[in-house]
């Protein structure tokens, strides 16, 4: 038996292997188990664009990084403590992520001559044998051989046996961190409820992995990561796309409107469609349209009929929807557009993360076309942000952008979820026919929020025609009158500006309200900035953090808040987009910190910049 487990406050594990190795499943199972145990956790799946990229090559490496701890966790971790590699390519691709002195768990079967060649190691070089891993703690296990031995009597073919390799690794990691297998066993029972031999094989191999830890002759240390002191309450684990889907359903339920989701498959937004499609018992209508344009226009049609019309895509698809978003703005109908951003331009980096569509959301349409924009900052915040986007769309009769990105869309974290009762009521009152004899319905008459009334087909006496052509104030009739056009452009802008009266003021997330340096972030950089600022403050630096959720209109107090700091730093995963808006609007000499590598910031990168600026 091994010695007493070593206590760790937090651990980062990176599982890496071929995209067919079941890495994502292994990672998400460990995540669920750690979350159930009470650790705080954050994950970052990182996979190639191809479903089955060339086997054994670095291009085909799929990774799942997870960071769990007995402390508050805000990111998936800058570097990993434990690297699990299923083949040589995985080691080659991800070794740079491992901390010095870190642990490498190696499936030796993935380091045969063929795999070494595929990973492009020079002939005769085997990193396991040439001493190059000397500064790490390496554990070699012939996972394939042990898995096959464990399943010798199962009657399965070698190919099928080898598919459970990931369960061996998972079992072994469970042993390392002294975790129960129960949650994964339950999962396997459900997943293979119709393939009992596979169910039994996977459970057997999972147990074999766990037992291997106890019986192996060269034992490694075991570790203990205690539950995190998070605030009291009931939690679940949630991924960003899943949270966005639930937020939409919640808005549909709280507004009493049918949710119509028109979309076209695109990475990394498709999982929202998959999630929503499962919930038809909420009356959710998902429509997989023929293209991005049909996706948005079908949603506009649904909104015209009195439903909650929603469309979603990623950057390239949003570009195609541009004209229709302008139509929704002219029609002044509610519409929610989700953009799960990915690396661009054009096809760009479909499976990698980026924040480069902010300016597209703000300005990417013909004409003067202001659209409110809300950005989610974490996986669970996708729920709140999606719900809030629906609220604004319904209250102000306008298209609204929701922005997330690949990092938080696929990442997961524990979520102290709300009860339905706590969510605000979004009940809508459609226009009623209160017209006196001979009186005409004024389809563009506005209320105190400058929103027009929503008059839906079926309402007798309110028959009216909407269109994309400029319309006369109040009547909605076609008008080419010069003064009227200017008036309408200004009033559509004023309506969006008015939203600032109905959103929260900007808060400082961490640090003093006045000081030397403010880190101003938006979207998925939250975790990295939060961690960096927290550490920097602990080290005595005068730095604060504010994170903008409402990007259009901006919170009313933002200018004053910014002016309380000597310097403002805006980290973004783009070439500088929010910074343009801030500099233009507030005439502040903000500085940018930009990373455009398809990967999130590490907190170290941000902390380094903080030190550089303040020193």
């Amino acid at each position: 038996m091994s010695a007493l487990p070593e206590i760790k406050t937090d651990v980062v594990i990176l599982f890496a292997g071929d995209s067919g190795d079941g890495i994502q499943l292994t990672g998400s199972q460990f995540t669920a188990t750690a979350a159930l145990y009470g650790n705080d956790i954050s994950t970052f799946p990182n996979f190639p664009a191809e479903i089955r990229a060339p086997q054994g090559t670095t291009a085909g490496v799929s990774g799942f990084q997870l960071h769990f701890g007995s402390i508050e966790i805000f990111t998936a971790g800058d570097a990993c403590d434990v690297l699990v590699v299923m083949n040589a390519a995985a080691l080659k691709a991800d070794l740079k992520q491992l901390k010095p002195g870190g642990i490498i768990i190696v499936n030796t079967d993935g380091f045969d001559a063929k795999n070494l060649k595929l990973a492009k190691y020079p002939v005769g070089v085997n990193p396991l044998r040439d001493g190059s891993l000397g500064k790490y703690e390496v554990y070699e296990i012939d996972v394939t051989k042990i898995t096959r031995t464990a399943l010798a009597d199962s009657g399965l073919g070698t190919k099928e046996m080898d598919r459970s390799k990931n369960m061996f690794v998972l079992g072994y990691i469970y042993w390392m961190y002294n975790r129960s297998l129960d949650n994964t066993i339950e999962f396997l029972k459900l997943k293979f409820k119709k393939q009992l031999e596979l169910r039994d094989a996977n459970i057997k191999v999972l147990r074999a992995g766990f037992n291997y830890g106890d019986t192996v002759e060269a034992p490694m240390n075991r570790f203990e990561v205690k539950p995190a002191p998070v605030s009291k309450g009931t939690y679940r684990s949630i991924m960003g796309n899943q949270a966005a889907a639930l937020g939409l359903i919640a808005a549909s339920q709280k507004s009493g409107l049918t949710l119509f989701y028109g979309t076209y498959p695109i990475t990394p937004a498709s999982d929202i469609l998959h999630e929503l499609s499962k919930h038809k018992n909420f009356g959710v209508k998902t429509f997989q349209a023929e293209d991005e344009i049909a996706a948005v226009t079908s949603a506009i049609g649904a909104s015209f009929g009195g439903s909650l019309g929603v469309t979603a895509s990623s950057g390239p698809g949003i570009a195609l929807k541009g004209e229709a978003i302008g139509l929704a703005l002219m029609l002044e109908l509610p519409l929610v557009i989700l953009n799960v951003q990915r690396g661009g331009p054009s096809t760009g980096l479909p499976t990698k993360t980026e924040q480069a569509d902010l300016l597209q959301a703000l300005y990417g349409r013909n004409g003067e076309a202001p659209v409110p924009v809300i950005a989610a900052y974490s996986p669970s915040d996708c729920f709140d942000a999606a719900f809030e986007a629906c609220r604004l769309a319904l209250e102000f009769m306008t298209p609204v952008f929701f922005l997330s990105d690949g990092y938080i869309a696929n990442g997961s974290e524990p979520w102290k979820f709300p009860s339905a009762r706590e969510l605000p009521d979004l009940t809508v009152s459609f226009a009623k026919n209160n017209l006196k004899e001979g009186e005409k319905f004024l389809s563009y008459k506005r209320n105190e929020k400058l929103a027009r009334e929503w008059a839906t087909p079926g309402t007798k006496g309110l028959e009216h025609r909407l269109g994309g052509i400029e319309k006369e104030n109040e009547t909605g009739n076609i008008s080419y009158d010069p003064e009227n056009h200017e008036f309408m452009v200004k009033i559509r802008q004023a309506k969006v500006d008015k939203i600032a009266d109905y959103i929260p003021l900007q808060k400082i997330d961490n640090g003093n309200v006045k000081g030397k340096l403010l880190i101003l972030g938006w979207g998925s950089t939250y975790g990295s900035i939060k961690t960096a600022v927290k550490e920097a403050i602990a080290e005595g630096f005068d730095v604060s953090h504010a994170h903008i959720k409402y990007l259009n209109p901006l919170p009313k107090n933002l200018g004053d808040l910014l002016r309380n700091f000597d310097k403002v730093l805006i980290p973004e995963m783009n070439n500088g987009q929010l910074i343009k808006v801030i500099r233009e609007k507030y005439l502040i000499d903000a500085k940018g910190l930009n990373k455009i590598q398809g990967m999130p910031f590490t907190s170290a990168e941000i902390k380094e910049k903080i030190k550089e600026i303040i020193a």
Binding site: A35, L36, Y37, G38, P227, V230, G233, T234, Y235, R236, I238, L246, I249, A250, Q253, F260, G262, K280, N281, F282, G283, V284, K285, F287, A289, E290, D291, I293, A294, T297, S298, A299, G301, A302, S303, F304, G305, G306, S307, G309, E323, A324, L331, F417, P418, S419, A420, P457, G458, T459, K460, G461, E463, R465, L466, G467, G468, I469, N477, I478
Partner: protein, 340 residues
């Protein structure tokens, strides 16, 4: 089903206060008039009718109909109507479009609407030209057509619009013309009666940019010999005094003199026969050709096929039956939770 209206409406009830901005003499006036005439006969409430259009001369149509309406963006009416019908199946939804709007920029939406078979009606105003953009050739313009954008004649092979629709598995396909009000009204009623997507192509004269494109079919002197009006169960007969007929020689249509054949030998129109419909729709010859087959009008094909919105709603009912009506707390909570 939509209830019968209580107060009898007249065509005037469908006229709006908007000034009509089509060119004087445009075929659109006749179509508007016939649509307004037919509407009261359909037994619909005005507020449950929606006209949706894209962009183009024809797409101004909704402004002139005292119903709910939307003049949207180029080519997208079919997709907008799909979203509306998916969520409001009880509405009577009419798509007004042109040959540029639906066959060119909106071609994708058209074919997908047809395969999905939402219960909506398409009125395709075909004038074989781009009118609103002032006279460029359209995907329906004949080869060699001289227009502003094709001064040496178009080199693009045109669509046979209805063959395209049949290829997309349209469940109702018909053709009529602006200059035959009686037939136009009849076809409008048939389109409305059909459950599923109805495609009604309407030959419409653009007297400014493509005047006379269809005159051989519409003018008294030539109409009878160049048109073939098909009716269910009736032989295919045309020509001055009905002296000519169509016979099928295998799958090849042949023009015969009725005097030379027995009536039983003639092609009897069966609008439920997709194979025959595909032959009929291919009667698309240039009428200057001496051996040209006449251009057919009427209902060519109709099929009883489930509608997308019905199937969509059936799945929702089935989900509610099997899983129970969704409970928001249960959904948000998920399957695995832990309490701190």
């Amino acid at each position: 089903m939509i209830e019968k209206t209580e107060i009898k409406l007249t065509s005037k009830d469908f006229v709006t206060d908007q000034e009509i901005r089509w060119c004087p003499g445009c075929g659109d006036y006749s179509i508007l008039k016939q649509v307004q005439t037919v509407m009261p006969e359909l037994g619909l409430k005005r507020e449950e009718i929606v006209f949706i259009s894209g962009i183009g001369c024809s797409s101004r149509f909704p402004y002139y109909m005292e119903t709910f309406g939307m003049h949207s963006i180029h080519g997208r009416a079919a997709a907008i109507a799909s979203g509306l019908k998916a969520t409001r199946p009880e509405l009577s939804v009419w798509i007004v479009t042109g040959d540029g709007d639906s066959l060119s920029i909106g071609g994708n939406h058209l074919i997908h609407l047809l395969r999905r078979n939402f219960d909506v009606n398409i009125l395709l105003f075909n004038n074989e030209i781009y009118g609103l953009t002032k006279g460029q050739y359209s995907p329906a313009s004949p080869l060699g057509k001289v227009t502003k954008s094709t001064p040496m004649g178009s080199v693009a092979h045109p669509f046979n619009p209805l063959a395209l629709c049949l290829g997309a598995d349209a469940s109702f396909i018909a053709r009529t013309m602006d200059r035959d009000p009686v037939h136009l009204r009849e076809m409008l009623k048939r389109s409305h009666q059909h459950k599923g997507t109805s495609m009604l192509e309407i030959y419409q004269n653009c007297n400014v940019f493509n005047d006379g494109a269809f005159e051989v079919f519409t003018e008294k002197g030539t109409k009878k010999s160049h048109t073939l009006f098909v009716e269910q169960g009736r032989p295919l007969v045309f020509g001055e005094n009905g002296t000519k007929g169509i016979k099928l020689d295998g799958l090849k249509p042949v023009v015969v003199n009725i005097a030379d054949v027995s009536l039983n030998d003639l092609w009897i129109h069966d609008e439920t026969d997709q194979t025959k419909a595909s032959i009929l729709i291919r009667f698309f010859n240039d009428q200057e050709d001496k051996n040209a087959l006449p251009r057919p009008f009427g209902v060519f094909y109709t099929e009883d096929r489930f509608c997308y919105e019905d199937a969509m709603n059936a799945q929702i009912s089935e989900a509610i039956t099997s899983m129970g009506k969704g409970d928001l707390d249960t959904l948000i909570r998920g399957k695995n939770t832990w309490t701190v």
